[in-house]
């Protein structure tokens, strides 16, 4: 708090009105630590060739987590990561404040979508998930980001995770149900067929940072149905901008 104040003093000694506003804001935010907040949230797909399926944005309490690195995925998370279905995760989040599917479908590469979220007391943590297509069980993940009490705009990037529930065979089979092998679809219509499968096993059954897809350069054969010049990515894969009003 001392640093905050001294910053405020430095910058406001010159402009009185700003100083008054700032000091009021500082007072307000100390008393607003656990109260309801109005948020504007924008999610941007930073990738060049990966689509996001319907996005789930949730403000929840400290006891709730949609996923956790090193833990096994819940069946609800598995449904989202393998098939893009956020309904079970949403049902699980009974007391959370949610924005579901703000893009009304797929979020294409480089595109952004926005949602407003009114949080209620105690829902001080923000999480965001969406499946990445074409992948077997890859998803963008933000886990329990503490929503700042201070009004302002906050921007950060998030990484790609692997749910650890399905072998990354990279074969586009239409399989999106939990336990069904293969990738549901390649929305960019830029993938191949006839792949023999990159791997048939998933040795790490815990949620982990996705190692990336490998793809190949043969759209009618090879190991993978993915195109290695289109469907790879590097982290980060999404930008999230939160305005606390």
């Amino acid at each position: 708090m001392n640093t905050l104040l001294s910053h405020a003093v430095k910058k406001t000694a010159k402009i009185k009105n700003t100083a008054l506003l700032l000091s009021t804001a500082l007072l307000l935010c100390t008393s607003a630590l656990t109260q309801a907040q109005e948020l504007d949230i924008t999610v941007t797909n930073l990738t060049q060739g990966i689509h996001f399926t319907p996005i789930l944005i949730a403000a929840h309490d400290s006891d709730t987590q949609l996923f956790k690195s090193g833990d096994m995925a819940s069946p609800q998370l598995q449904m989202m990561a393998e098939g893009g279905d956020i309904s079970a995760l949403s049902t699980m989040l009974a007391s959370a404040n949610k924005a579901e599917n703000p893009a009304m479908g797929l979020l294409a590469p480089t595109m952004s979508t926005s949602a407003m979220l009114s949080t209620t007391d105690g829902n001080m943590y923000l999480s965001v998930v969406a499946m990445m297509l074409p992948t077997n069980d890859g998803f963008i993940g933000l886990n329990s980001w503490k929503i700042p009490a201070e009004a302002g705009t906050y921007s950060f990037t998030v990484n790609a995770y692997d749910a650890g529930t399905e072998a990354n065979d990279e074969m586009i089979t239409g399989g999106g149900a939990p336990g069904a092998a293969g990738i549901p679809a390649a929305p960019g219509m830029d993938a191949g067929t006839g792949g023999t499968g990159v791997t048939m096993t998933e040795g790490n059954a815990y949620v982990h940072i996705h190692r990336g897809s490998i793809g190949d350069d043969n759209l009618t054969a090879g190991k993978s149905d993915l195109d290695n010049t289109v469907h790879r990515w590097l982290n980060p894969v999404a930008r999230i901008t939160v305005t606390v009003n």
Binding site: T12, T44, L46, T47, T110, I214, D216, L234, V237
Partner: protein, 243 residues
């Protein structure tokens, strides 16, 4: 809160005192010679380090500006940026109309090497102080990958203060990532690889780069090897306001 109020009161007082002084001098009849407009200069020193294994960076474009940005996620690259990202030529970016003052790098910035660049802008109206600093450079052993910083707000940086960060890599979306020898302007292209080509045969939107595949990782015909692969971040940058 008390300290803020004290300072406010002090500021208000000193404003009163100053305006009183001003009032008395302007009411006197003594002729004062006209003084020239005051000049202000802002200078920044930027240290850039290439973090990659084998991706030389093209001569850096470093610019101060108030308006615009060098690129926007999801939008078409400007021709100036396309030229930088496909050929490594920074001249169009440095000559862009939004640029108040620009500085080009001395030459290729090789892997693991650092370069220090200085950029200054002198102005008479305080309202024209440069607000933003941008920087761009191509990863030359690629089709159209670049990295840099985009419209960093520097207006609150005090003299002597620094900001440090690392940057990720972007794809200008203007050239397909074929990795063919004839399309790579860097050393991996054998010195004859094409640079700028006005044709846009990729998604024509700026996105983050997905990395190079290379012949060693399954792209037939690629002039790149495992050595040219990179991960984020690719550049370390430190910006210090020096004046």
């Amino acid at each position: 809160m008390i300290s803020i109020n004290k300072i406010l009161a002090f500021t208000a007082l000193s404003t009163l005192v100053l305006s009183a002084c001003g009032g008395s001098s302007s009411s006197s009849k003594v002729m004062v010679p006209e003084t020239p407009d005051p000049m202000f200069t802002q200078s920044y020193q930027v240290t850039v380090t290439n973090l990659t294994y084998a991706q030389p960076m093209s001569p850096i474009a470093l610019v101060l500006h108030n308006e615009g940005q060098l690129w926007t996620m999801g939008e078409m690259a400007s021709v100036a940026l396309e030229n930088l990202a496909e050929s490594g030529d920074n001249s169009d970016v440095l000559a862009d109309s939004m640029v108040l003052s620009g500085q080009g790098g001395a030459g290729l910035l090789m892997p693991a090497m650092s370069e220090v660049l200085n950029v200054s802008y002198t102005f008479t109206d305080v309202n024209n102080a440069p607000m933003k600093l941008s920087l761009a450079t191509m990863l030359v052993n690629t089709n159209d990958a670049f990295t840099g910083i985009n419209a960093l707000a520097v207006n609150n940086l005090a003299v002597g203060e620094s900001i440090s960060f690392t940057t990720s890599s972007y794809d200008s979306g203007t050239e397909k990532n074929s990795e063919l020898m004839a399309t790579i302007p860097g050393p991996a292209g054998g010195g004859t690889g094409e640079g700028f080509n006005a044709e846009r045969d990729d998604i024509d939107k700026v996105a983050m780069h997905s990395g190079v595949v290379s012949v060693d990782d399954g792209l037939m015909g690629s002039a790149l090897t495992q050595a040219h692969r990179f991960d984020n971040p690719t550049l370390a940058v430190m910006v210090t306001r020096t004046e």
